[in-house]
């Protein structure tokens, strides 16, 4: 029983990490169709932001909260820069954005290596996040609860922004029918930029959160990028709901396979399940109905 609960939790926790990593992608890939391979490097930038902020703000707790905000800005600004300089030229060539942003990812990784040095750096977790709390008789690390909550907050915030705010309406309008949105007086260029800023900003936040779990090094992003894309593909584009369900499902799947086999085999099995799943639902879990043939 204990093992079941703790595995359930491990799966949820893994799912929340995947969701954080994929949420920004659900926006930039899902809503805009841009395949941003540098998304992982924006996460890395967020993680290094936490490291830099910690050097300025001594208290680990305050520094974490400050980092979340600054990480959002750093990720967002990097994304904005990328959008303005490169991606805006290539909206009609989505596959090419994949290659271009892969080049950007290489450059950012090497830049991190040259600026911060090749060895990993460390970010201290605040005291109020160390240790575990008892949930249903199982010790659960506080950091993982924190990330779970953070993922939920980010998801809710993004969903609300999309649903309620004028910006959200503009984004949805642009996604559903770019030409009509434009003729209705929406500046689709400005909307694109804002969407990309927010999506990349969430990547920065994810990076800050990851400092609680793992290493902070130049290759941090590459560990997550493939999984994050899979989440969006399985979730179906155009809706955050799909990404959320997919992230949790994949997290639970990985954790349960891992418990019964090994971590390596589990990863392979998850891939197999995804390919099989896309046979049944090539459009993903949740998809926006449209009149297009694709």
């Amino acid at each position: 029983m204990d093992a079941l609960v703790s595995q359930l939790f491990a799966g949820l926790s893994l799912g929340s990490v995947l969701l954080l990593a994929a949420l920004g992608l659900a926006l930039t890939f899902g809503q805009m169709g841009v395949i941003n391979m540098a998304h992982g490097e924006f996460m890395m930038a967020g993680a290094y932001t936490a490291y830099v902020v910690q050097g300025i703000v001594a208290d680990a707790g305050v520094s974490l909260l400050v980092s979340l905000v600054v990480g959002f800005l750093v990720g967002g600004l990097l994304g904005l820069l990328l959008e303005v300089t490169l991606i805006s030229r290539m909206y009609r060539r989505p596959l090419d954005t994949l290659l271009v942003t892969f080049g950007v990812a290489l450059v950012l990784q090497q830049a991190a290596r040259d600026v911060f040095g090749a060895p990993n750096v460390d970010v201290r977790a605040p005291a109020w996040l160390s240790g575990a709390v008892q949930v249903l008789g199982v010790g659960v690390p506080k950091t993982r609860l924190f990330i779970l909550a953070l993922a939920a907050v980010c998801l809710a915030a993004l969903a609300l922004v999309l649903k309620l705010t004028p910006l959200g309406r503009r984004i949805r309008a642009t996604v559903q029918n770019r030409d009509l949105a434009e003729t209705s007086g929406i500046s689709t260029r400005a909307t694109d930029r804002l969407t990309f800023f927010v999506g990349s900003g969430v990547a920065g936040v994810a990076g800050v959160a990851l400092t609680l779990l793992g290493s902070i090094g130049p290759t941090l992003g590459t560990n997550y990028i493939v999984d994050a894309f899979l989440v969006v593909v399985v979730g179906g584009i155009g809706q955050l709901k799909g990404a959320a369900i997919a992230a949790l499902a994949l997290g639970l799947l990985q954790a349960s396979f891992e418990y019964s086999t090994t971590a390596s085999i589990a990863k392979v099995l998850v891939f197999v399940v995804i390919v099989a799943f896309l046979q049944v639902r090539p459009q993903g879990l949740v998809s926006v109905r449209s009149r297009s043939l694709a």
Binding site: R89, R93, P94, D96, L99, G103
Partner: protein
């Protein structure tokens, strides 16, 4: 007919370069390096077909390259161990017995057939499953990338039968010829050069055939092709399987030439690296991928010697610069230049490009591959 003349002229020049000039001018070490580059170029030719012509961005060619390489390596290991013998790494890491599924590869004929059939068949099956369900564009790219990741993890995890991260290496002979002899290394180079030329010829024929037209049509307007009564999935599967076959042959030759095949040669990063040369050379052209792959590998080897960190920047910048600003690769540089000079009014038309993203059509004028329409076989039939 000048196009045809140019084509055969080009072939003749390439043959002279590969078979006469290079062996004469390069040391054994450099020639072997060139042989390795040629193997990578074989993968590039396939990618050019599947991606440039067919619009399928395959981020997982490492899987097929690796399958070819590992199948060959298994045979070489078994051959070195002698009849009934056990490869050295199995004694070290395994239980000292050869697993049943290894046994057939003691036979050289079975091995060669498997190299040609297994990866191609796997690609065909996968392609059928994926393309029939109309998974395409970015979805296909990400799936193929996941495939490469899964394949590498699987290879690493099964150390007892695959050598794990070490991969398979330390081959002594190649179908009875000892690999330590530089003359045999040269023979391998000639085989690689011949196979590459044959692949280019095959690709040229495929491109110019009615099938080639159909492939480009599927890339540009899949639905229209479907409405015309063709099955786009079938068309795509052929290109994908051919690309897989080329990659597998490249891998199979890579193994004895380089002397090692390991998971690092087949994973996500390696698979993307295959694309660099193709993108830079010109994805939809015939020779672009080959020249691009060879040039990039050569640059990597020589530049990274002096400036390891600079090389990474350079590679990233190449990707960004070429793909963003010269989407058809360096092969079309001349064409772009001519167009610029012809008049400022003529710009590259971006609005009509297809939804799955590849540039609409191969640059017609600059390439021998794109013969005038009246030269197409079957057009008059």
């Amino acid at each position: 007919m000048t196009a045809r003349l140019r084509l055969w002229g080009g072939f003749a020049v390439a043959a002279v370069l590969l078979f006469v000039v290079a062996p004469g001018a390069l040391s054994d070490f450099r020639l072997n390096l060139l042989a390795k580059f040629l193997c990578l170029a074989m993968v590039a030719v396939g990618i050019g077909l599947a991606w440039g012509r067919g619009g399928m961005l395959t981020l997982g060619q490492g899987v097929f390259f690796g399958l070819g390489g590992y199948l060959m390596a298994m045979h070489l290991k078994l051959a070195d161990a002698g009849p009934g013998g056990v490869p050295d790494f199995m004694l070290l890491y395994g239980d000292g017995t050869v697993p049943g599924w290894w046994e057939p590869f003691r036979d050289p004929v079975v091995t060669v057939v498997a190299i040609l059939v297994v990866p191609t068949g796997l690609a065909a099956l996968l392609g059928l499953a994926v393309f029939k369900r109309r998974v395409r564009g970015a979805y296909f790219a990400i799936l193929s990338q996941a495939l490469a990741a899964a394949f590498a993890i699987l290879l690493i995890g099964q150390q007892k039968v695959t050598g794990g991260t070490n991969g398979l290496n330390g081959f002594k002979s190649f179908f009875g010829f000892t690999l330590a002899d530089p003359l045999n290394k040269r023979m391998l180079y000639f085989i690689a050069a011949g196979v590459l030329l044959a692949m280019v010829a095959a690709t040229r024929l495929l491109m110019r055939s009615r099938y080639g037209e159909l492939l480009v049509a599927v890339r540009d307007q899949e639905n229209r092709v479907r409405f015309l009564g063709y099955d786009p999935a079938g068309v795509k599967v052929v290109a994908y399987a051919t690309a897989a076959c080329f990659a597998a042959i490249g891998g199979a030759l890579f193994t004895p030439i380089v002397g090692i095949i390991s998971p690092a040669d087949v994973g996500v990063v390696a698979s993307i690296a295959f694309l660099v040369g193709v993108a830079i050379g010109g994805r939809a052209t015939l020779l672009g991928p080959v020249l691009g792959a060879v040039a990039v590998s050569w640059a990597e080897t020589s530049l990274s010697e002096q400036f390891p960190s600079f090389w990474t920047y350079f590679q990233g910048a190449l990707f960004i610069g070429v793909v963003a600003f010269l989407p058809n690769g360096l092969a079309t540089l001349g064409q772009v230049w001519r167009r610029r000079r012809a008049g400022p009014g003529i710009r590259e038309d971006e609005s009509g490009q297809p939804d799955d993203g590849t540039p609409r059509s191969a640059p017609e004028a600059s390439l021998p591959a794109d013969a005038p329409a009246d030269a197409l076989p079957g057009r008059t039939a």
